[in-house]
């Protein structure tokens, strides 16, 4: 007692120069927000302003040029139609898979989700490469089609509109599936059991209960896919036809080849508006419906009155099996390209076929002997490591500060941090490209690191925030009441509990930066990274060295994921996959 009393007094005298976190913990998000403000928001805003502010005077010239040109209008229209098509296909084939994921029990569920998440996290380039090879003139698909007698001779599948569509659907379906699954996993099973107990057939339960409740997820998935498809750049360049250009390609051309930044700016603004239109439309419908006190207009009308009688014409087992078959086919569609890439890497250098003409490690030998590959590889690792650290420090601090603030501050803060992730991919890249050129940073390592960090921070913040929200705030109070200061509490209680999750956040921020293609494509100059080198090599020739690089990228992803799974299996504060997918 005496000891305690005396020591209590001693610590009181030291209290003056304590850092104050207290209720203003949202302030911890400031560094990340500041970083984003400088390197994402400012470039974007100046880029947009540059489109109406030419040589010190306000002008609409860039917009009149854009809207009077039948060429640009035609490309924009084609882009919108393509995005809508991709959106419809992704949601249609993604829904059964998401439903399936939701229903499969236990361990099988974990494996199936992994099979969706892996393609989702696999570098877009790896998938583009797989499809280029699969769809090539002498590729496996053409071989099969010709052998089956469907075509007399191999078809130009690769560089075609169909190729771009297949690529886009393949890249965006996992996102659609995970978004819908996140919503479905939160639908209480009890609703359906109740409806069943009240006498509804399984098909009717699905149509009247499950489908309407999963609609928010479907809408979210559709909006996300649409936005990403509008801004897609890599896939149409690598898989599409030259006569079927999409808008992002034209914008990038204006910015990086023609160097007409004003026009590129106006096109970017147009693209942003077009990509946000459906979201505004949905909000508008919801607002109108809200005023009529019917928060779910589509749900009630569509599902309960017109859809289910049609559903019921088909017997339940047929539905069940239809869902399962579609789910398995979609899963195969997602996973097979990854396997194909690995097989290619062990084939002969100049001929990619399945099965390979003969097995060899020629590709691996050539890769490691060629410093035109090993140098970018080294750079990629260095840049991504720097980005991982930046993202973890800034994103982690922000996540802690926001997670310990009110619900509204948390939501707004996280939305701001994550917004570069939800923009069409060329938008942040192009605005940063213009920014880097203005400040004479273009072509430097620093520019690449900073540019890649913009998206990596958002990702790290989203993942860390679900980790920290799993640490009850009462643990911190308990620690403080035990006599630990706020700082000591962070170090001794919060940090150890959050560490595994934070490492995972850093790891995925690293991967995100490592796989970034569009930004270094515009900004890196001589400091090219692996994705850039791969992108240019693929346009040159498809060979097994590229397959080797792709295989190494898949290996890196698998290793990172294995570490993540291992860390999470022991962690107290877990990462909620559904949370992350939604974020």
């Amino acid at each position: 007692m005496t000891a305690a009393a005396v020591r209590g007094d001693v610590s009181t005298t030291r209290s003056r120069r304590r850092i104050r976190f207290s209720s203003g913990s949202a302030g911890l998000a400031l560094p990340a927000l500041l970083f984003l403000a400088i390197f994402a928001i400012y470039p974007l805003v100046t880029f947009a302003i540059g489109s109406v502010w030419v040589r010190g005077a306000f002008t609409w010239v860039n917009y009149t040029q854009l809207f009077t040109s039948t060429y640009f209008g035609g490309v924009l229209l084609r882009t919108i139609l393509t995005a809508l098509t991709v959106m419809a296909v992704c949601v249609a084939i993604g829904y059964p898979l998401a439903y399936f994921l939701n229903r499969v029990p236990g361990r099988a569920k974990v494996i199936l989700i992994a099979l969706v998440v892996l393609p989702y996290l696999t570098s877009v380039l790896v998938r583009v490469f797989a499809w280029s090879a699969l769809l090539g003139l002498r590729g496996p698909i053409n071989t099969v089609l010709v052998a089956l007698g469907i075509f007399d001779q191999p078809q130009q599948l690769g560089h075609s509109f169909a190729g771009a569509l297949i690529g886009l659907v393949h890249v965006l379906t996992p996102i659609a599936v995970l978004t819908m699954w996140a919503t479905m996993s939160r639908i209480e099973r009890g609703h359906e059991v109740t409806a069943g107990a009240l006498g509804a057939s399984p098909v009717r339960v699905f149509a009247t209960i499950f489908l309407p409740l999963s609609m928010p997820g479907v809408i979210a998935a559709a909006l996300l896919v649409y936005v990403l498809a509008i801004g897609a750049y890599v896939i149409p360049v690598a898989l599409g036809a030259t006569n079927g250009l999409l808008f992002a390609q034209v914008v990038a051309d204006q910015a990086t080849v023609t160097l007409n930044w004003g026009l590129a700016g106006s096109m970017t603004v147009a693209m942003l508006i077009v990509s946000l239109l459906p979201l505004l439309l949905v909000r508008l419908v919801q607002a109108i419906a809200g005023r009529r006190r019917n928060p779910y207009p589509l749900r009630n009308r569509l599902a309960t009155r017109s859809v289910y009688p049609a559903f019921e014409l088909v017997p339940t087992p047929v539905w069940t099996w239809l869902f399962r078959v579609v789910a398995v086919l979609v899963l195969a569609f997602l996973v097979i390209p990854e396997i194909v890439v690995i097989i290619f890497s062990f084939g002969p250098f100049n001929s990619l076929s399945i099965p390979p003409d003969y097995w060899s490690v020629e590709g691996y030998q050539r890769f490691f002997a060629d410093d035109r590959w090993t140098e970018p590889m080294g750079r990629s690792f260095a840049f991504a490591a720097a980005d991982g650290v930046i993202a973890l420090v800034l994103g982690g601090l922000a996540a802690y500060g926001l997670a310990r603030s009110s619900g509204r501050v948390f939501a707004i803060g996280l939305a701001i941090l994550a917004f570069p992730l939800a923009l069409p991919e060329v938008v942040p890249a192009l605005s940063f490209y213009v920014f880097a050129n203005t400040f004479h940073l273009a072509g430097t390592s620093v520019a690449v690191i900073i540019g890649q960090a913009v998206t990596a921070i958002g990702l790290a913040a989203v993942i860390s925030s679900t980790v920290i929200r799993n640490i009850p705030v009462n643990l911190e109070y308990a620690s403080q009441m035990s006599g630990a200061s706020k700082t000591k509490t962070l170090l001794r209680i919060v940090a150890p509990l959050a560490l595994p999750g934070l490492i995972v956040a850093g790891l995925y921020a690293f991967l995100n930066a490592f796989d970034n293609l569009v930004l270094p494509l515009f900004v890196s100059g001589v400091n090219s990274t692996v994705p850039v080198k791969m992108f240019f090599s693929m346009q040159d020739q498809l060979n097994s060295v590229i397959a080797v690089v792709a295989t190494l990228l898949i290996g890196l992803l698998l290793a990172a994921t294995a570490i993540a799974v291992l860390l999470m299996s022991r962690a107290t504060a877990r990462i909620d996959v559904a949370d992350v997918a939604k974020g």
Binding site: A4, R7, L475, M481, S482, G483, A484
Partner: protein, 383 residues
């Protein structure tokens, strides 16, 4: 002992304000509002040294805010707060010297039981041998001496609760705060832990403030119950007083099950009589506090409604009411009846062996109230 005296002497020297020098916690006119809603409206409260005080109230009554203000989790908008004589308005929670047991225990999941209990001592820089002794003693006190090496997830809910208690008292805090400490336990365990908390309190003599919405908890454990409603203290007193002489209809209803009747009070002083609209009377009522004549609220606890079977066509004795049993439910240690007294339904609870056990629906009974079991309150418009 010396240390205690020195400390309180120092405290009085620093803050020469009202309240006895032995008071552990003093709140003076403390207010706290969220937006336009007052969570606490000028609440004053004193917890004496070694006293076990329970803050009881429905959700939204302000009881939790009150605790949070003592702990330093919430800051009061207005008013003074002293712990062990020291003004703590600007003292952060890690320097307030309070122990707290949280609703879900908040044990550190990455530490063993021993490490959890040692944590506050390490933070206070106790020597290793002192710490180990204190830790062992605290665990012995909560009867978990053999669990030192376990992790929290290897413990049952009741055991986790005991560890949380040990961690909160091991450093001999000025006051122990309990935030709905038993709400996560099942009923049997809850009853056991009520007695356990009371036992530990008697052994340590530590001033304790407990927050709960469970009246049984409040009545079983406390020296004093403070009943809150809508951010204000409604009544405070010993559990027995609060139960038998509730100061308001709200207090009467919150502390136990009552029959509520609208009646008219009249008669000469010292011989007050209650009359209902059918002319039935409860004569010679004993009023705890003066109540104006006229329409009043009457509350009678269900265990104070006494039933007597009426044989054949016998009439009820004068001063008693007559009724018919509407339903009877066996409760194990007694029976619960609903009796229809000509339009007024009365609930009665009889203990086992009180002679009512044969009663069933349709039986005629005579209903009697003891004069000091009838609680009379001025009429309230909203219940």
């Amino acid at each position: 002992m010396n240390a205690t005296e020195e400390k309180s002497a120092a405290a009085t020297a620093v803050t020469p304000t009202a309240g006895s020098r032995t008071d552990s916690v003093v709140l003076e006119n403390v207010s706290k509002h969220y937006g336009s809603v007052y969570a606490l409206d000028a609440v004053s409260l004193t917890v004496g040294d070694g006293e076990f005080v329970t803050l009881l109230g429905p959700s939204g009554s302000g009881k939790t805010t009150c605790l949070q203000i003592m702990a330093g989790i919430a800051k009061p908008d207005d008013g003074a707060i002293r712990i062990a004589g020291r003004d703590v308005r600007r003292v952060p929670m890690h320097k307030r010297n309070i122990g707290m047991v949280f609703q879900n225990y908040a044990l550190f999941p990455n530490m063993t039981v021993a490490q959890n209990v040692l944590y506050p001592l390490r933070m206070r820089g106790w020597s290793k041998t002192d710490s180990l002794d204190a830790m062992r003693e605290a665990l012995r006190l909560v009867r978990l001496a053999d669990f030192e090496g376990r992790k929290p997830d290897q413990l049952s809910g009741g055991q986790q609760q005991r560890v949380a208690l040990a961690r909160a008292i091991v450093f001999k805090p000025s006051v122990l705060l309990l935030d709905e400490p038993l709400s996560a336990l099942d009923r049997l365990l809850r009853e056991e832990m009520q007695l356990e908390l009371r036992r530990v309190h008697e052994l340590t003599g530590m001033a304790t403030v407990c927050v709960t919405h469970d009246r049984t908890e409040a009545l079983t454990m406390s020296d004093r119950v403070v009943l809150l409603n809508k951010g204000r203290i409604v009544q405070e007193g010993s559990p027995r007083d609060m139960y038998d002489r509730s100061g308001s209809l709200f207090a009467a209803q919150f502390l136990g099950e009552v029959n509520r009747l609208r009646m008219t009070l009249g008669g000469a002083p010292g011989a007050k009589t209650l009359t209902d609209e059918r002319g039935r009377v409860i004569p010679d009522v004993l009023l705890a506090t003066p109540v104006r004549d006229g329409e009043v609220d009457v509350a009678i606890r269900v265990e104070n409604v006494h039933l007597l079977p009426l044989e054949g066509s016998a009439l009820a004795a004068p001063g008693s009411w007559e009724g018919t049993v509407e339903s009877a439910v066996f409760l194990g240690d007694g029976d619960r009846y609903v009796v229809d007294c000509g339009g007024t339904a009365l609930v009665a609870r009889s203990p086992r062996g009180s002679g009512t056990s044969g009663l069933g629906p349709g039986d005629r009974v005579q209903v009697r109230f003891a004069r000091d079991d009838v609680m009379v309150f001025e009429k309230e418009d909203a219940a």
